[in-house]
Structures are given as structure tokens and as C-alpha cells.
Point group: C2
Chain length 410, copies 2
């Protein structure tokens, strides 16, 4: 009988774990990606326009390019004739107009556009302007959308949206420097079975691997091939020693039982900084790094504990490595506890809740009892801090919503 | 000189355009995807568990599986001895205990687990239990995370999150039925130049293509290869006739000038339902369908107008086709107008705003003037409905935020 073994890592609060992560996980260096693939990435360097946007004065609408001062006095009862000149090249002759489609450059000398519905009779060679326009009328000025040398898209740390992609493309850029995506290696303890084979007696299917893949992708990481590792200290030491990645997640074997080697292996293969986090679910989680300095998070194997140790610890590290906002990636809303929410003093507890009528958040069965069902049946969660025993019915609580939209508006 | 030509489509309000979209764009049929790739997809059919989750009663912690009634009276001053029996197979003999790691199945006859820290002296064959436990203590019951036949993940229309992926994987599923992703074909009028070549005089780089790629992906669509089409009615008719996609975006040529053929081509190649939407920017947008019934949205070529016609019209259609929430995909917050916001009566106007101190939303220069700069320099937008001339300084306004988190919390 193996008794509880002392861990070589100190236990820590969630805040201590965050401080450790924040000190270690600095954003990766930038990489160049095609503009067309940069949406959702984090801008690494501000982008300045190499030329004016638009590059020239141009017609904002379909119409006639004219010299504004030649339209003075024009009106429905005083149509003024203009000779139609060819669009391309040269200076706009006096008394002439050029037919432009929206977006076409103004000829030299023209300073206004008369929209087509302010043009009267015409015979192909001459047309009549029936409204006076001022200089600049329906003209998009060169540089109005961004002057040469100005910041076109900034600043560093910005998450590029579709509009940003449009501006980068307008500026003629092929590529843009964005924060690198952390490559995350999952080392999963042998035991659980992959889907697609019949379930042997006493075994369960692996939930952690597919779930972590989804989480890593959501947080901007790249899950590099998952490896199964024997439940054996030496095997895990070997795996940690050979890792080529920006971050490692060791899944399972984080407890202190006979079959748990994650903490000891990490202590041997590198550094075990924290083992045991005052977090529920997830209290057997750990933090450290390999001998090569790659950050490692030890995640419990039980799916709900794995999920919350990821959300509260590993996800933060991955988001920081990728230059994203390290905060929890959920919309927050203020609600009231529809029933009492109970938590143990000294533990940061994740309490699953369901949104009920009138802005109420109703606590669901704890994760320890309901497992991931408390996620699939809930709308979000409340974090009860270490120093709190929970919330009375009717107390104000901050709810983190799994799905920002749908639920938030219902 | 071509004068403004009548359009064959009627003009419509944004609400009329939405009604048309909602009537036409029904969710595509489901497709089967691997569970590991299903995060973010829309569940098409509820999933029921084919077996209990977990499949058997198991230890929730490392400890000793016992018969609870045999621990009655145990205490630190009255340790009760239990014989250690082998883990595998058979019934738990009377007076015996089995050492289990968390997650291992309970032997038949056992009904409780004594955690290791409640186990006293032991010599490898016999161990002492120093605390009485009740039946069910530290046992995860079969079916506690989901009973056989119950809905494991529901209901239809749910956007699958990482926790859902975990449950689907626990249930041993290889694939899951999700709403199909609409294939969206962009037909872009020739004119703008792709990045990577020097800019000819009088030309601009294409912003719309890359921007639309990002938008389509954000809304769950698949952008199928973009095609450039000559600014020519027959060429566009041909392209519309040969389209193989769930949705078509025609980009550019939506006006009524000499060079604008989008509306006429769509009227000829299928149906032009609405041309001219009371939306700014984006008022030359149109809606219709090909002869084969594929929905078509005509988007103006000017980037800001293209963006907002997409956001207000095309995006809704794509989200509906893919089974997503059709509403605008932005977090909404209530703020106050930091300055007067002016809009033309009769037009739904998109007004760019920047978040300033004290919950204020400051209007930026209009898109017609600043182009996409009003997006890159802003935090979000206010929609001024058709029947409103805008908002006084200090009025309550609903701001749609480009980036739900970062900005919302600042």
C-alpha cells in the first residue's frame, strides 16, 4: 500500500499560480503571416501606410468631374453646359467635364464631382449641370482613409479583425507580423481508451485529449501531436526531456497515489514549482518547467478537473505565450444567486450555474458529483474566491458565460 | 453618358432585407464531423449516451474500497483492521479492502472508498481504517455524469464548446452531426489589384477579397475560391449561372453607373429581389438568387460599404445557412453618447464610435469620409434606426463592440 507521498512542489493559491505563470510565460517572438490568414491573430508590430489611402483624389460617386468654380450659378432653371472630355490623362480643359465612375481618379484640374442625378440633358458630347457644387464635393481625398507614414493598424497586441484585414490589404501588404502561436504538446497518461474501439471492462473513453484540443485551439495555440505516456516515472521523465514545444500539458497522474508520477517526474526532469493548487475542481494541478525551460502544467485526468485546471491555469499560460489577453475568455455578467452557493473556505471554487428568469444564476450540482454534465447542462460559472464560503441567495454574483451571445441576451 | 438607370429590384429597408433573408436562408442539412474537430460547430441532432457515464461505480479518490458497514466504529483511537485483497476480479471478501486509484472500478460488494489519509498503519497485508465512512463515500456512481439513454449533449442549435467535446468523447463517439458550413463564392468585379504587385497609376489594392474571407470564416462559412469577373453584364451572368455554392457574394458594380452591371446581371441570371437598401454605408446593396435558387447578396465595392453591407445583410444569411444565431455577432453594451450622433432620417446608419471615459461612446468621422479608418480607430458602432435622426449628447445608446472582451472591460 502506497501512502500519500510528500510532493516536492509547494502548494499554492490560484493567485500564486497566476503570478508564477505571468512571470514565466512571455509572448513568443513574432512571425510573418499572409494578410488573408491574419484575422484573429495578434498584431506584433504596428503597421504604417507606405502611401496615401486612397492613393489619389477620386470620385466618391458616379458623376462628372468638374472645376467647382465653373458650376457657380448652375441650377434647374439655369443648366450650364460642359463639354465631355475623355477620362484618361492630361489636365481637365476649361469648360469641360469628365464622366467618372465611383472610385476613379479625378483628372488634374478637377476638384469636385457632380453626381449623375444633378446632370440634366446631354447629347454625348455636351451635358448640362443643374446644380452648383463646391470644391471637394463627392471627392474622396488622397490620404483621407490613412495618410502615408501614419499608423494604418496599431497597436501592438491588437487582435486583428476583418476591418483591419481590409486596411492591411488596402495598404498593399502581402504579410503582417503577428505574435507566434504557441505549440502545445499534450502528454497523456495511458489508461483511457480512444473512441472507435469497444470499451474494455473497467475502462473509460478519453475525454481529455479531444477536449484539450478544442481548448488549445480556442486560446490560439497549436496542439502538436498528442502522445500517450506509460504511467511510469521514467517514461514521463524521458518524454519531458525530449519535448520540442512552447508549452507542455501533462494529463493525469497528478495525485499522490501509487500510480501518480507526474509531479515526481517533473521534479526530476526539470522543476516542479507548484504542486497542489487551492482550486476546485483541479486541486492536484501543478506547474513547473522542463530542464530546457519549457513551461509545464500538470492537469488532473478526471475530465471536469482537467477542464478547470486548464481554464484556470494552462489556458492563461497559452494565451500569454500567444500575446492574447490572459484573462478568462468568457463574457462576464452581473447576476444574483438564485439559491445559496456554498464553497469551502481556502479553495477557489468553480461553481456551475444555469441562468434562470430575472437575472438569476442557479447553482448546479458540483463538478465532483456531476462531472462535465455540470458544463453541458449549465450556462456558465461563478468563481468563489479562496477567502469566501460562498454567496447567500439573492447576493450579487459575477457569472462567466460559456457562450457570450445566445445566453447573455436571453 | 449613361444616366442613372432604373433598377429592376425594389428598394427596401434593412428590416425588409432581413425578412427576405430569413425567408430564404434555411439551415443547410447536417454533416458528420469527427468529435475532435467539432468545437465551434452547431449541433444538428441531440446526442444520447449509449451507456452510463461513468460506465461503472468507481473510486473518486485514491483509497481503499470497503463495505461501509464494516467501518462502523472506526476512529483514530479505534483503528479497524482490513485484509488487503487483490484489485482485480471477483467479490470483495468480508473483512477485506482493495487499494484503488482514483477512477478505478469498485469491486463487487464494495460500496465506499476510504481516502488514503484516513488509513492508519499497514504492513502490506493488513491495513487500519481510522474513520467510519457511509455507503457512497468517495464513490462516483455509474451514470452520475449522464445515464444511458439520456441526452448527453443537446439541444439542436447548440454551439459546441470544449466541455461538450469532452462529453461526446466520454460517450465514445467518433463523429457528431453538425450543421453544414455554407460554401460562399465571391465574385469580385475586376479592377482592384491584388497585393504583391506594384500599384498601377489610378488603381487601388483589393481590400474586399481578404476582408470578406475573414468575415465568412468568422460566420462559420467556407470561402470557396474567389473569382474575378469582368465588369460586363454577360460575364457576370455567366458566372452566376455556373455557380456551385450555397451562397454568392457579388462584390462591386452595384451602383447605377455606366460600369455597374451587378443588379442587371442578377435580374437576368435569376431574380433581383431588392436593390437599394436604406442602409448607410451600403445603400447600393442588393439581394436575390440565381436561377438555381442560390441566394446572392450584391455588395458595394467601396471597402467600408462592402463591410457594412456584409455585416448587415450577407453575414446574417451565412449565419442562418450554417445554423448559427443570425443576430449581429458582437457584444452589446449600453453607453451614453459623448457627442451628438447625427443620421439621415429614412436610413439605418452605422455610426463608428470610440469608447471614452465614464461609459461614453464618442462618434468618429463617418465611414463615407474616413473609410475603414473609422473601424480601425474605433471600438464599435451604434446603429441609428431608419426612423431616427440620431442621438443627443448624453442619450443612452447601444454600442456593438468589435472585440467583446478587451474593450468591454476597459
Amino acid at each position: 500500500l502506497d501512502r500519500t507521498r510528500p510532493s516536492q512542489g509547494r502548494a499554492g493559491s490560484v493567485e500564486e499560480a497566476w503570478a508564477w505563470i505571468d512571470a514565466l510565460a512571455a509572448p513568443l517572438g513574432p512571425e510573418q503571416v499572409p494578410v488573408a490568414e491574419a484575422a484573429g491573430r495578434i498584431l506584433a508590430e504596428e503597421v504604417r501606410a507606405a502611401f496615401d489611402l486612397p492613393p489619389f483624389d477620386r470620385a466618391a460617386v458616379d458623376g462628372l468631374a468638374v472645376r467647382a468654380d465653373e458650376t457657380v450659378g448652375a441650377g434647374a432653371y439655369n443648366p450650364l453646359p460642359f463639354r465631355l472630355a475623355p477620362a484618361a490623362g492630361g489636365e481637365l480643359p476649361a469648360g469641360a467635364a469628365v464622366r467618372l465612375d465611383a472610385g476613379e481618379p479625378l483628372p488634374r484640374g478637377a476638384d469636385a464631382v457632380v453626381p449623375l442625378d444633378r446632370v440634366g440633358a446631354h447629347d454625348g458630347a455636351v451635358c448640362e449641370v443643374i446644380e452648383a457644387v463646391v470644391a471637394g464635393n463627392e471627392v474622396e481625398r488622397a490620404g483621407a482613409h490613412g495618410a502615408r507614414g501614419d499608423v494604418a493598424v496599431g497597436g501592438t497586441g491588437r487582435r486583428l479583425g476583418p476591418g483591419d484585414i481590409g486596411v492591411l490589404a488596402s495598404a498593399g501588404l502581402v504579410g503582417v507580423a503577428v505574435a507566434g502561436r504557441p505549440r502545445v504538446r499534450c502528454l497523456v497518461m495511458e489508461g483511457a481508451v480512444d473512441a472507435g474501439v469497444p470499451l474494455p471492462a473497467g475502462a473509460v473513453y478519453d475525454a481529455d485529449g479531444p477536449m484539450l484540443g478544442a481548448l488549445i485551439a480556442r486560446d490560439g495555440g497549436v496542439a502538436v501531436a498528442r502522445a500517450r505516456v506509460a504511467r511510469d516515472r521514467a517514461a514521463l521523465c524521458d518524454a519531458l526531456g525530449g519535448v520540442v514545444a512552447d508549452m507542455v500539458l501533462v494529463v493525469g497522474g497528478t495525485g499522490r497515489g501509487s500510480n501518480d508520477h507526474a509531479a515526481a517526474a517533473l521534479a526530476e526532469a526539470g522543476e516542479l514549482a507548484i504542486h497542489g493548487v487551492a482550486l476546485r475542481p483541479g486541486e492536484t494541478a501543478g506547474l513547473g518547467r522542463t530542464a530546457a525551460g519549457v513551461p509545464v502544467v500538470l492537469l488532473p485526468g478526471a475530465p471536469a478537473a482537467c477542464l478547470w485546471a486548464y481554464e484556470m491555469l494552462a489556458g492563461r499560460a497559452i494565451r500569454r505565450l500567444g500575446g492574447h489577453d490572459p484573462a478568462l475568455p468568457f463574457a462576464r455578467v452581473e447576476m444574483t444567486a438564485a439559491r445559496k452557493i456554498v464553497s469551502e473556505l481556502g479553495m477557489t471554487e468553480v461553481c456551475a450555474v444555469r441562468c434562470v428568469g430575472g437575472g438569476g444564476a442557479e447553482p448546479l450540482a458540483p463538478f465532483a458529483e456531476a462531472g462535465l454534465k455540470a458544463v453541458t447542462e449549465g450556462d456558465g460559472f461563478v468563481l468563489v474566491p479562496e477567502g469566501s464560503e460562498g454567496y447567500q441567495k439573492g447576493a450579487a454574483v459575477t457569472v462567466y458565460l460559456y457562450d457570450e451571445r445566445g445566453r447573455a441576451q436571453s
